[in-house]
């Protein structure tokens, strides 16, 4: 009897031991808060620049260009641990301090600026300088091999060859990228790589009514197993295998390809395009809607895509490719994004690993 009781007690003790941490956590909770869901999260590229401007305006008043020219601005800057740089002065400010400048701010070559800076007018970041974050109400220029580690926002931005923005860059008007630039996320009404398209590249034909219409794929082997299908309710062609669209052919409706897709030169998709495999577009292809590629994608020169353009692999945009429209900004995203000279995006370009220009 004793042995049975002892065994029972031992069993209960073992079970209790396993449950002890749970019971302690229930009795004295240490981790009960719901997972934090930030209410104000909006994912905008210029979020940090906007909050920095708000902080500056709370110190100096708005608009910054005028309030910084005020005689009392220097005093307010000192009270908040900032340095107000006199653009006309020849002295070299302490670049390790948070800086604001009422005029043109030039950062000498090779300077390390570890704090956020503001320039009411032009901002010149010298060769091989490293800046943490910068806001400018004029034109911001990153000279050769200069680097911004967090964010950069200006009215217009110019990035010279070899310069890098390791996080986000945005502009109210345009971002001009020289060849050999690397960045991660950029946004402006115009994001353009300097250079031109190959002379052979032809822009898409705007009058496509005369083009032959795509009429489905011919099945191979088992004739009962169709290799493409027109889904009338969804207004889309579904192709169940690899597809090669002949040059200057027009697809009326959306196009979904469950294999690789090769769109011939001058062809047009009058809807959106989705490709499960590798996407290759020859020159002068036009897509009137979005374009989604689940693998790598190569967009031929002088092609036009209304957007968004989404690629889960490496995206290569050749010269004079245009995505979006100044009146209808859009997004281009890819794991890796390569933009050739002359490529232009109206809106956001976002490479999960990097965006590079050639």
């Amino acid at each position: 009897m004793t042995a049975v009781l002892f065994s029972g007690a031992l069993l209960l003790a073992l079970i209790g031991l396993a449950l002890l941490p749970s019971l302690l956590e229930l009795r004295r909770p240490t981790d009960v808060e719901p997972l934090r869901v930030p209410k104000d999260h909006d994912n905008h590229v210029f979020r940090f620049a906007a909050s920095y401007r708000t902080r500056l305006e709370s110190v100096f008043g708005a608009p910054l260009q005028r309030s910084l020219a005020d005689g009392a601005a220097a005093q307010r800057a000192r009270e908040h641990g900032m340095t107000l740089v006199d653009a006309s002065a020849s002295s070299d400010p302490d670049w390790s301090q948070p800086l604001a400048c009422a005029g043109v701010l030039s950062i000498p070559a090779g300077t390390d600026v570890p704090q956020e800076i503001y320039a009411a007018s032009e901002l010149r970041i010298g060769r091989a300088s490293i800046v943490r974050a910068a806001l400018s109400d004029g034109v911001a220029t990153l000279h050769r091999d200069a680097c911004v580690t967090r964010w950069l926002h200006a009215r217009r931005v110019r990035l010279d060859t070899g310069s890098r923005v390791q996080a986000r860059v945005s502009a109210d008007e345009s971002i001009e990228l020289a060849p050999g630039v690397e960045l991660l996320r950029s946004h402006a009404p115009v994001v353009r790589v300097a250079g031109t398209a190959p002379a052979s590249a032809q822009a898409p034909d705007s009058a496509s009514e005369s083009m032959p219409r795509y009429a489905g794929e011919l099945g191979s082997g088992d004739a009962r197993k169709a290799s493409s299908q027109w889904d009338a309710a969804g207004g889309r062609w579904i192709v169940f295998q690899d597809m090669r669209l002949a040059p200057r052919t027009r697809v009326c409706g959306h196009l979904i390809v469950r294999g690789d897709a090769h769109l011939g030169a001058g062809s047009r998709v009058e809807g959106s395009l989705k490709v499960h495999g590798r996407l290759t577009m020859d020159e002068g292809v036009r897509v009137d809607g979005a374009c989604v590629a689940a693998c790598d994608a190569r967009i031929g020169a002088a092609s036009r895509i209304a957007g968004p353009l989404v690629c889960e692999g490496r995206l290569e945009m050749h010269g004079a490719t245009t995505v979006g429209d100044p009146a209808r900004l859009t997004s281009v995203t890819g794991e890796e994004v390569l933009m050739h000279g002359g490529a232009c995006v109206h809106g956001t370009v976002w490479g999960k690993s990097w965006v590079r220009t050639l």
Partner: protein, 427 residues
């Protein structure tokens, strides 16, 4: 000549082996999903679409006696970051008998032209029936569905709508997060369960291009796709599962957006939880009976997605099967006719299952909680065993009830989940 007992034992043994095989398949599934989340390539292809020519959206807020929570939800929707001229908020007030109508109408007056209420005074009960009736007033290409207790963050609508630029996507699903996790032991256990379900299960399906599930709320649906499959079905209890499979069979994908998080309330009492599980079971099983064979024959679905889709449909069938397995084991023990289950084989099977099989679901939840950045709540993990037991009994009960309902042609009844938030409390 085999005796009756021998024949019975053989039958029970076969049933038991089939059940064990199914359990092993689900165990493997847990492991594959969890390992994929821990070490695999994570897919969030549409999350970076932050700028676009956004489509016109109607947000349907399903409300049945929701006076306590509807105001918070509608106010949050007035503050979302989506072009105002392309966003219409439509509270679907389904036969409420409390102050829901009054609360909605006062907000309509405060935000002229932005909230277009649909006050439903009659018709079939249930969310799907209410949504179906509301569809005639929807203008735009996309609907977003919220429950009245959900409070969206600023960027949520854009993130839910972004995948619909893909012409193959028919619906999107965000992640729901228990807002009342700290209320009691049940809510804390449900918080762990939800974490595993979304952070691991749904995202792994997304990563592996399988069948992420539309969850009925915090989701967007392409109106064209919905019309193409015949709209909402009012005769089902799980309109979310039903919609997922009808879309899939018609060649439309569902996309899961793990970073589209939104708070919800989870049941705070066991009777409410049991009723919720029983409703889900009946709805899910109906989908299983309707779509399993069609899924296998569909030309639109890959083999891997077919397997995942079938396993997802069978999730609620596993509980009664598990109970049947236990019954078979006991019967075989007393019949003393279980040669395959004796000796070393039985010992190894028990050891393997204890070490790996039983552990799979806990491994999944543990991984999810870790990915969410939480730590000490993992101490509650052993208590989930009790939650699973309650679920298993409730699901089995619901399955049997469903068969009886089917026999007597009884109509399935909608059961609303209780709300706990106090009026005016922020989520």
């Amino acid at each position: 000549m085999p005796t009756t007992a021998t024949t019975l034992a053989g039958l029970l043994q076969t049933i038991l082996l089939v059940i064990v095989a199914l359990i092993l398949v689900y165990t493997a599934r847990h492991y594959v999903f969890t390992l994929n989340r821990l070490f695999g390539r994570q897919r969030h292809p549409y999350i970076d679409i932050d700028t676009a020519d956004w489509p016109r959206v109607t947000v349907l807020v399903a409300a049945h006696n929701e006076e306590l929570v509807i105001e918070g939800s509608l106010r949050a929707l007035m503050d979302v970051d989506y072009p105002q001229d392309r966003l219409t908020v439509m509270p679907v007030n389904d036969r409420s008998q409390d102050r829901t109508r009054e609360v909605i109408d006062s907000l309509v007056a405060q935000f002229p032209g932005r909230i277009k209420p649909f006050h439903r005074t009659g018709g079939k009960p249930g969310k799907a029936a209410a949504l179906k009736d509301a569809m005639q007033f929807v203008e735009g290409e996309v609907i977003v569905v919220f429950d009245a207790d959900y409070v969206p963050s600023k960027g949520l609508i854009r993130q839910l709508v972004a995948p619909l630029f893909d012409p193959e996507v028919g619906a999107t699903m965000g992640r729901v997060v228990p807002q009342n996790a700290s209320a009691n032991m049940l809510t804390r256990l449900l918080d762990l369960e939800r974490s595993g379900g979304y952070q691991v299960d749904q995202q792994a399906r997304m990563n592996m291009r399988l069948v992420p599930q539309y969850g009925g709320t915090v989701g967007a649906v392409r109106v064209q796709a919905l019309n193409a499959i015949g709209g909402w079905r009012e005769d089902v209890l799980a309109e979310d599962t039903d919609l997922t499979y009808r879309l899939l069979l018609a060649g439309w994908q569902t996309v899961y957006q793990n970073r589209c998080e939104c708070y919800e309330e989870v049941p705070q009492s066991w009777p409410v939880r049991v009723r919720q599980i029983m409703r889900w079971t009946k709805g899910h099983n109906t989908a299983m009976y309707s779509y399993s064979m069609r899924l296998l024959r569909s030309p639109h679905v890959s083999l891997a997605a077919k397997i995942d889709g079938l396993l997802l449909l069978g999730v609620y069938a596993m509980s009664p099967l598990l109970m049947l397995g236990w019954a078979c084991s006991i019967a075989l023990l007393y019949l003393d006719r279980a040669p395959l289950l004796q000796g070393v084989v039985l010992l190894f099977a028990l050891m393997s299952y204890s070490a790996l099989g039983n552990f799979a679901a806990f491994f999944e939840i543990g991984a999810a909680v870790r990915m969410d950045g939480n730590r000490n709540r993992l101490r509650l993990l052993p208590l989930n065993q009790f939650g699973f037991l309650v679920s298993m009994v409730s699901i089995s009960r619901a399955t049997v009830n469903q068969w009886i309902d089917g026999l007597f042609k009884r109509e399935m009844k909608w059961d609303k989940t209780v709300r706990y938030r106090k009026p005016g409390a922020s989520a």
